[in-house]
Symmetry: C2
Subunit: 198 residues, 2 copies
């Protein structure tokens, strides 16, 4: 079945303690744009993410506050920063890359917390049933176009509070020349190409 | 069958007239490293590629001199430069993007010449026979790994003077987390997934 894409640029999620250090006590994230996932929003706050090798300024903080601080970057970003982060699901941070976050009021040196987000689809339990995906953890997705192809290892993130959407990072977006709002196809049944995996 | 990857970063090919303008009369490209394709080499010369929006400095000139001047960039580069170049085979430049090349001695404003290089495999006529590819213009290629998948529209560039190798740009390399020297697999026969193309 068809699914809409959302391309995620590098961004940061913060826990309360780190928000306070970076932006000061009593600071609140301001919602300047709702994201499609319920409750998630682009905030007006930006930070610098930094390693010994390089830095990116103006990296957006995505709200609301979470239980963990997490920096999501692409492989291209990782190369520029001199990092080798693992591909991970949100919140699965043990053993991920160290990185420093710098805000206007302070900085936080994370021992770990920097990941390359896995390719994932936000989906409800009801949609899992409706689309015949119950029991599957991952799917392959067909991307049309001149630089199209099939991407493997797309994680099904099942939650009641989900807007049905495939999230990819900017490397996947640019390599396939696709953008937020484009439509791609989840492969299932006879279209499944798991057999091609090594 | 298996094939080795070469990842190409942004680079420039120059015709004699433009070499003279950019680097001065009687300038010769110096070979500092042979590339795998016979006769092709990394030169010591670098230029800046420029648009009204942005620029990249230290872009490598790949030798030898060609009959045409061509700037090869990735989609990520294109976004930063504010360009929308087509995906093209080398030398197929009519209607491609305008760009300015700046060298130490002068600059060249190209009306067209900037492309995103197509995914392509350098292969000899003999290898085409050996691998059962005669008659095919394009193949699909399986990329292993955590961010693996299948890439479509991989152009077979048949020439007697070829080193068997798959060339991808940095976007494709980073999206799939692969690097120069990695091994991938050309899909053929029953493994062909052309049927999945839109």
């Amino acid at each position: 079945m068809k699914v809409q894409i959302g391309i995620s640029n590098r961004h940061v999620h913060l826990k309360q303690e780190h928000l306070n250090i970076l932006f000061g006590e009593n600071y609140k994230l301001e919602n300047i744009k709702d994201l499609n996932q319920p409750g998630q929003f682009v905030s007006s706050s930006k930070v610098t993410i930094q390693t010994e090798k390089n830095e990116f300024k103006n990296v957006r903080v995505v709200g609301p506050i979470r239980d963990y601080t997490q920096v999501e970057i692409s492989k291209s970003d990782a190369i520029k920063l001199g990092l080798n982060p693992p591909v991970r699901d949100s919140g699965d941070l043990i053993g991920s890359s160290p990185i420093t976050i710098v805000g206007p009021e302070g900085s936080v040196e994370l021992e770990y917390g920097c990941i390359i987000a896995d390719r994932h689809i936000h989906i409800t339990p009801k949609q899992m049933e409706l689309y015949g995906l119950v029991g599957k953890e991952k799917v392959n997705v067909l991307i049309p176009g001149e630089k199209g192809g099939i991407i493997f290892n797309v994680n099904l993130k099942v939650s009641e509070q989900s807007y049905f959407e495939l999230h990819l990072d900017t490397d996947d977006g640019n390599a396939h020349m696709i953008k937020t709002g484009d439509i791609v196809e989840i492969l299932e049944g006879d279209n499944n190409v798991w057999k091609f995996r090594w």
